[in-house]
């Protein structure tokens, strides 16, 4: 049975259909990429799964349980964590405190949560910055902090919304390394990403959205050679460079 199952999910904003009967299935332990041009409905799909928007139609099932329209805090408690496209860290709290907020959903024991936060800081490489205020971090560290904070909720499924957008080459490599480590921890990953070169090699499968509709879903190699996808999103340039290899 799939860990996450999205069936015919539709989300409308007035006359705009942001997600149009989208279906996605994610198995435990997979890394799934979600791509598509700006405004294709990627973030909307995330928001519907995570409970931020109630969908107009369709069903979301997580680990066999119907979670359609559950509020975000319930969705988190059930084991889905997410990060935000525009980082939403607690800027007046230290890095350590940011992590601890995430930990209290699993235990109310401050000492235990503190201990776990220290371990997670170590795991994500933020230990040295633990006493810095969230707001004073670089964008790369803020994104890393969001991931670390999500991990504190002990998710089975982690949804990262453009975790590598706007990062330098080196920072992107570091982020990729972290994603590999998460995968080794058996966390299922659902990634929205704009940086094609980054998402293609790490995803087991890639889902492509355009104007709210799913236009393709396949292994990365096939997706990047799919004519419709190329036309919709990748552009001729990327197609050409793939052929040159």
């Amino acid at each position: 049975m799939a860990l996450l199952q999205v069936n015919d999910l539709t989300k409308r904003f007035g006359g705009l259909v942001a997600c149009d009967r989208v279906s996605v299935e994610i198995q435990e332990g997979e890394i799934i990429g979600l791509i598509g041009p700006n405004g294709a409905g990627k973030t909307t799909l995330f928001n519907c799964i995570a409970g931020f928007y109630p969908p107009n139609a369709g069903r979301v099932t997580f680990a066999g349980q119907d979670i359609t329209s559950l509020p975000p805090d319930r969705v988190c408690q059930l084991g889905i964590a997410r990060t935000f496209q525009v980082v939403k860290i607690f800027k007046d709290m230290t890095v350590l405190e940011n992590l601890m907020v995430g930990g209290f959903v699993r235990s109310l024991n401050t000492r235990k949560v503190h201990q776990e936060a220290m371990e997670t800081l170590n795991f994500t490489g933020l230990t040295e910055k633990r006493d810095m205020l969230g707001g004073s971090l670089t964008i790369a560290d803020k994104k890393r902090l969001e991931i670390a904070r999500s991990l504190m909720t002990k998710p089975r499924l982690l949804m990262l919304d453009e975790a590598m957008a706007g990062l330098t080459q080196k920072e992107t490599q570091d982020a990729l390394e972290l994603i590999h480590k998460l995968h080794e921890q058996k966390i299922t990953l659902f990634l929205v990403e704009h940086v094609m070169e980054v998402i293609m090699p790490i995803s087991h499968r890639v889902v492509v959205l355009e104007y709210g509709k799913k236009i393709a879903e396949d292994v990365p190699e096939k997706v990047s050679n799919n004519e419709e996808v190329i036309k919709a999103y990748l552009g001729d340039k990327y197609h050409a460079s793939r052929r040159a290899h």
């Binding site: 601890m100 209290f104 949560v113």
Partner: protein, 307 residues
Amino acid sequence: MFAATAVFLLLFPAIFTLPFPQHIMIMIFLYATLAQSWNLIGGYAGQVSLGHAVYFGAGAYTSSLLLMKWGLSPWLGMLAGAGLAAGLSLIIGYPCFRLAGHYFAIATIAIGEIAQISMVNWKGGGGAVGLYLPILDESFTNFEFHSTKVPYYYIALGITAIVFLVTYLIEKSWLGFYFRAIKGDLDASRALGINVPKYKSIALAISAFFTAVAGTFYAQYILFIDPESVLPLMLSILICLVAILGGVASVWGPFLGSVVLVSLSEYTRTYLGGGGKAIDLMIYGGLIVLIARFQPEGLMGMLKKFR
């Protein structure tokens, strides 16, 4: 530093035996309690309430009316008033917490006005004339002392100490983290499993509880209450300003703010008499402007810098 302050506060009535300095300290404790209670919802959780007089009034009126109608001990009345205020806060919070930022503040002002006007018109509750509490024998049980202020001093000190201890414990627990998270970012809080309306309500209920405790204390100390003294908008604003001046979301800020405000207002009142009315607030307003401009973290932020 903490121990020295504690010893000083405990010995204060023995050193300053005149009623005036004792009265000033009692008022400092009262406002520190109010500001600290406000700090939980307004400072830590970031929901600026400008209607806290409602809870203060609820405490003052509940214990006074229970005492006058049924002769109930003000200590039990204090608990009843605090419980009522906490319950009331849940009812008030339910619609108001749907509003964000300034709109929440405006809604709380409106509710404060409703409460004051209702009490002015409720004859059974004393109406606009107010309530004169019965003069009973001096005793701890009766919560009345006529010959000396010293017992009031220690009761006020005790209440303040409890509120500060509770705040300290909350700050260290998940509640403190959740309140600050809600202040920081709503979406991130929800994504991390925080039931935002629930935790806002918890913060407000604890806040209302202790605000009402202070209300009962005030009634027993002054022995007279009316809608003008325990339910005015100005009181709601003062409570919030004391906390902001001292420094929000810090355990000691409200105490510091209260020391500055109460000393200022009591001394200007004493030295300038009736002509000096509201001068303390003018100075205070000026201080708030300076704080907002140069030191948004309040006096506590200033102290931290010097360290």
